[in-house]
């Protein structure tokens, strides 16, 4: 019994420590959603460590202690079951997963209040690509257009377009996500948020950045040949800097934005044996600010 108690104490300590470590496996927290998601992940890591550690301890114990002696061909003492134990090991996992589920539903609700998960799937599945319903949206609005293979960001209030996403820190923003061709995924790991961009729908998606820096936006739903190269930089800057950026950018002439796919497609055409068939990339979007997608980023 003492040994079992010692094992449980060690496992609890280990689980708590792993729960703390879990925060370091994730990118920097750069949105209001990130601490909520990370807290849940840490909790799950701790519980998971406890369960995994328990099972592995039993396996290690039987491997060391309950091996057949050499040349012992006899059977072990037959134990066919134990109803009490079976009830216990049904009840404990049930309670554990329900605890996790309740925690997760509460996080879901909080995230819902923050606004990142709601969109118009239920009431109005198809919204025109033009005709922007700005008046019902609470915040700065950014229109995100996903293509094979580029990201374009439009700021209708400021009359600015860019292939680098600029956001003001601590200010809520509403994205209007549209795709011109296939499914794409709007995924900014530092924000812990992801939303598929579904052609034929406009999806409203809210978030609030909380940390200045340069982050990556990655396409997360397979979109064809240059899927991997369909990334953009996200710059979170102070409110003043953001206002200044919008103002400067509006004065810039339109030029070709970033599309790695277009560059690679041109290089590929010169090869003798270019590979298998591909859809040609859409032409690079014409934007005020191409920005950059190869500067060092925080996450």
């Amino acid at each position: 019994m003492f040994g079992l108690a010692a094992l449980v104490v060690v496992l609890i300590a280990l689980s708590w420590w792993m729960g703390q470590q879990a925060y370091h496996w994730l990118p920097v927290q750069a949105s209001t959603a990130a601490p909520l998601v990370d807290g849940l992940f840490s909790f799950e890591t701790a519980i998971g460590t406890f369960v995994f550690g328990g099972v592995v301890s039993v396996m290690a114990w039987v491997l060391l202690m309950h091996r057949a002696e050499k040349y012992d061909e006899t059977d072990a003492e037959p134990i066919e079951g134990n109803t009490k134990l079976e009830v216990i090991w049904t009840a404990i996992p049930f309670v554990l997963v329900m605890a996790i589920a309740v925690y997760a539903i509460r996080v879901n609700t909080s995230l819902g209040v923050l606004g990142p998960m709601e969109h118009i799937h239920q009431d109005n599945p198809v919204e025109g690509v033009v005709g922007y319903p700005g008046d019902r949206l609470p915040a700065e609005q950014v229109e995100v257009i996903a293509r094979q293979w580029s990201w374009e960001f439009r700021y209708p209030d400021a009359n600015v377009s860019s292939t680098e996403l600029h956001l003001a820190v601590d200010q809520p923003v509403t994205f209007r996500l549209v795709s011109e061709d296939v499914l794409h995924g709007f995924f900014i790991p530092a924000f812990r948020l992801k939303q598929d961009v579904v052609p034929g729908r406009a999806i409203n998606f809210n978030l609030t950045p909380t940390r200045e820096g340069r982050y990556r936006l990655r396409d997360s739903q397979f979109s064809g040949t240059w899927f991997a190269a369909n990334q953009a930089d996200v710059v979170v800057e102070s409110g003043d800097a953001h206002t200044a950026w919008l103002k400067q950018s509006a004065a810039l002439p339109l030029q070709s934005g970033i599309s790695d796919a277009v560059d690679e497609y041109a290089a590929r055409a010169k090869k003798a044996n270019p590979g298998w068939a591909t859809v040609p990339p859409a032409p690079p979007p014409q934007v005020n600010v191409p920005g950059s997608n190869n500067l060092p980023h925080d996450a």
Binding site: V97, F187, F227, E264, G275
Partner: protein, 560 residues
């Protein structure tokens, strides 16, 4: 009561039966398994190319189009041409012999189901050689990207892929009809439901899932094929279709498909741990019934595969709770296996090593599975390498390792020769280390935000990717001792006695290998539960006499 005699003088059947339309389930079983491993080698070769590409951040080994085709075909081949056929092979070998049936209920249908596999396999492999290359949109083949058809040809890789998947569905439905009917109708006298081996329980559960789920996938795939070649717009928003509809069809089957794979694996755990721990299975009735609880819950979790596609909050919460509940009956099974091992007399043979390694990996995968079930965490890690890591821990770390255990365990029974222990242990060690080195690094990669299916990535992901690639190459090497073992022991391994592991079960009351009609007219009458290790109760009537006849036949065979 007359007992079967075992004439050792029966003429040896010709090896050419393995290349013919044969209706003997044991021949079909071996056909399935050998063909599956042929495709396993092709799928594995593709995995080596994938990991070769991903060992550096740039897309530099193959063109991006080639990479996309290769990762698509890797997943497709491994699932539809390796895992499902190899499990159907085990079903064919084990179900009739475990329940004392002479063959499957519909032997000709059984053979047709098998011969569809090389047909759609050839179709799939042939798609590498059509203009434009094979399908490239992943094994999910989500539209609209899967219906873009860049060259515009009527015959194209994606179309061949969809035809192959639909044929695979037809083949699996034929198989499922057969397995379910055989288990329900053809059990030995006295073998009530609660005297049936757990492998048969899990096979029945898994094949019921096939019958319920497969029509959705097969229908969905045919609709997608129409969108691709006939201009319909079921899934194309340009014509009023909905791409998310396909995701429902696809995952309504393809999530249960994971249980079709893992349930028989649970069955193998439940068969093997008692043999090698010399103890009865702990809580046999509960373990048997838990399979059907998993079936029920497994059918109502499919939306967790696309929480990010835009599903309403209530649906997210509902499917999250359903998914988490599955861990309860699954946990019951894991604890029952631990209870079986507890105070056993464990013999560390190759099969039990593979089972222990598989259990270790499976529990790890279960924990990442619960993480994936919770919506907020899933939103962050879905479609990242975290999912790839989780999935490969389930399929390779658990399922494939336990399939290896089954092969080492039942090889003597159906081939009639003993595999080599030393090579088996080397195979285990390389597989266990290789799998963990390959798949563990995928979890930090996913948490950091590396999407799956990428042919290039940002440099901060390089470290873990190098480790994963080294693990993959080790896994590539690990198959060599397995192949050596199988081929050499099949050709000239020591002759196997009828029951080399001293196991309890009807299949061990047959000679190795069994006659074509198994027990023929002389099916033993089952009088006890399976796994009666240490209880001293015979499994069947006249057990001693049957054993004596078998031992005499073993000796006669050995002296030849």
């Amino acid at each position: 009561m007359t007992l079967a005699t075992f004439p050792a003088s029966e003429p040896k059947p010709s090896w050419s039966r393995y290349f013919s339309f044969n209706t003997d389930a044991k021949v079909i079983g071996i056909q399935y398994i050998v063909l599956a491993f042929f495709f396993f080698l092709i799928g594995g070769l593709l995995a080596m190319i994938i990991r070769g590409e991903l060992i550096t951040p740039q897309a530099d080994l193959v063109d991006r189009t080639v990479y996309n085709g290769i990762y698509t075909m890797h997943g497709t081949i491994m699932l539809f041409l390796f895992v499902f056929p190899v499990l159907n092979g085990l079903n064919n070998l084990l179900i009739p012999t475990m329940i004392g049936a002479p063959d499957m209920a519909f032997p000709r249908l059984n053979a047709v189901a098998f011969w569809l596999v090389p047909i759609f396999g050839t179709l799939l492999i042939a798609s590498f050689f059509v203009p434009g290359g094979p399908a490239y949109s992943g094994w999910w083949s989500y539209p609209p990207v899967s219906i873009q058809n860049p060259l515009g040809h009527l015959v194209n890789g994606q179309g061949m892929w969809l035809t192959a998947v639909a044929l695979s569905g037809v083949s699996s439905i034929m198989g499922a009809v057969n397995f379910v009917t055989t288990i329900i109708r053809m059990r030995a006298p006295g073998m009530t439901w609660f005297r049936m081996p757990v492998f048969c329980w899990t096979a029945l559960a898994a094949q019921s899932l096939q019958l319920i789920g497969l029509p959705a996938l097969t229908g969905g795939a045919i609709m997608l094929l129409f969108d691709l070649v006939a201009g319909t717009t079921f899934y194309d928003p340009a014509g009023g279709g909905d791409p998310v509809l396909y995701q429902h069809f696809f995952w309504f089957y393809s999530h249960p498909a994971v249980y079709v794979i893992i349930l028989p694996v649970f069955g193998i755990f439940s068969e093997l741990f008692p043999v090698y721990a010399r103890k009865p299975l702990f809580g046999y009735v509960y373990v048997s019934l838990a399979s059907f609880i998993i079936v029920g819950l497994g059918l109502i979790v499919w939306v967790h595969h696309f929480f990010t596609s835009g599903v309403p909050q209530w649906m997210r919460n509902l499917f999250m709770v359903n998914t988490m509940l599955i861990s309860v009956p699954t946990g019951v099974k894991v604890f029952a296996w631990l209870g079986t091992l507890w105070r056993g007399k464990i013999r560390l043979t190759t099969p039990v090593l593979f089972c222990l390694g598989g259990l270790f990996n499976f529990v790890f995968a279960g924990i990442t599975g619960v993480m994936l079930a919770t919506v907020p965490v899933d939103i962050h890690v879905s479609n990242t390498y975290f999912v790839v890591g989780h999935f490969h821990y389930v399929i390779y770390g658990a399922a494939v390792m336990v399939i290896f255990a089954a092969i080492y365990h039942w090889f003597p029974k159906f081939i009639g020769r003993m595999p080599y222990e030393g090579l088996g242990k080397v195979h285990f060690l390389l597989t266990f280390i290789g799998a963990n080195l390959n798949f563990l690094p995928m979890h930090p990669l996913g948490l950091m935000g590396m999407p799956r299916r990428v042919s290039s990535y940002d440099p901060e992901f390089a470290f873990w990717n190098v480790l994963a690639s080294l693990g993959a190459f080790l896994l590539g090497v690990s198959i060599i001792p397995f192949l050596l073992n199988m081929i050499s022991s099949w050709v000239r391994g020591p002759k196997a006695p009828h029951n080399p592991w001293n196991a309890i079960g009807l299949e061990w009351l047959l000679p190795s290998p069994p006659a074509e009609d198994n027990f023929g007219e002389h099916v033993p009458v089952v009088i006890s539960r399976p796994y009666g290790y240490g209880l001293g109760k015979p499994l069947v009537e006249h057990q001693d006499a049957i054993e004596q006849a078998l031992t005499a036949a073993d000796l006669q065979e050995a002296s030849r």
